[in-house]
Symmetry: C2
Subunit: 150 residues, 2 copies
DNA sequence: GTCCATGCAAACTGTTTGCACGCGC
DNA sequence: GCGCGTGCAAACAGTTTGCATGGAC
């Protein structure tokens, strides 16, 4: 965790960016909160450390980190973006349409797809987002009235 | 095309919804524009037919069609949602980071992933979005300076 | 000392909603 | 005729930006 924050500060310095207290807090919140925080949640978390950080700074910092490729934002169905650190290898998201839970998973098949695209269409894939939505095991079980689709 | 519009009108009636001139125009625009229109583009297209349609109606109609499963909206990186008719089987998107072109493709591997999720996690997948971004063959060729990621 | 980063508040964008009227059924 | 669908304009949420101050380097 602390190591992650250190690496990110390093990356900032290496890009000629400054490491301010606010940025440090944001990095800490990102590393601890870990997964799928939206800007508002990140804001709350940062303010829990120190109330002297503005929402604008959250957005500006997220912008910088995203440009540097340290962080990635997704629209997982909801209306606002959720951000996560891109330290670990690629992974994908499932979100439950009923309880909203987000589950990360990995799969080797996406790699297959990327290879196909390269070999058959000359496409150079840089990033891949796979977002599956439906009903998680618990919700699928407790709600048999999942038939408002027909 | 006209057939598609007919089918969608049918579906509306079947759901007890009314078929108004505005909705007819929106369906037409969706069927002709075909792929990946955002609300504003759809609005423009509809107004080209008849200027007496409001943006609110566009959104409300898209909402209805989405609920009925006739249309689907995606966030393809940009800030606003892009909509498309879900007539054909599932397909996935590639978007070029340089020229912005969107390419649809199909792949059998996603089905594999969905099956894995069901068998190993009890997840009932309802819809899947795969969005790959990178550089299309043309842009990959013409731009060897694709190294602002390092 | 130089500039980048910040806070604040106002602006902006995409989308939603309240209300009174009109038209499909 | 009943009630859903519409236009209009205002409201809204999330995000961005202009400007003056302050702090990292």
């Amino acid at each position: 965790m602390a190591k992650l924050v250190g690496m990110m500060e390093e990356a900032l310095r290496a890009s000629g960016k400054r490491v301010t207290p606010q940025r440090r807090l944001i990095l800490k919140a990102l590393a601890e909160g870990g997964e799928h925080l939206d800007a508002a949640a990140l804001y709350d978390r940062v303010r829990a450390y120190d109330s002297g950080v503005s929402l604008a700074t959250i957005y500006r910092t997220l912008g910088v980190l995203t440009e540097m490729g340290l962080v990635e934002g997704h629209h997982l169905g909801s209306d606002q973006s959720r951000y996560e650190v891109v330290d670990s290898g690629p992974h994908y998201h499932f979100s439950c349409l009923r309880c909203g839970k987000v589950i990360e998973f990995t799969t080797p098949w996406v790699e297959r797809i990327v290879r196909d695209l390269r070999e058959r269409r000359g496409i150079d894939a840089v990033r891949t987002h796979l977002h599956i939505s439906g009903y998680c095991a618990a919700c699928h079980e407790s709600d048999k009235a999942v038939s408002d689709y027909s």
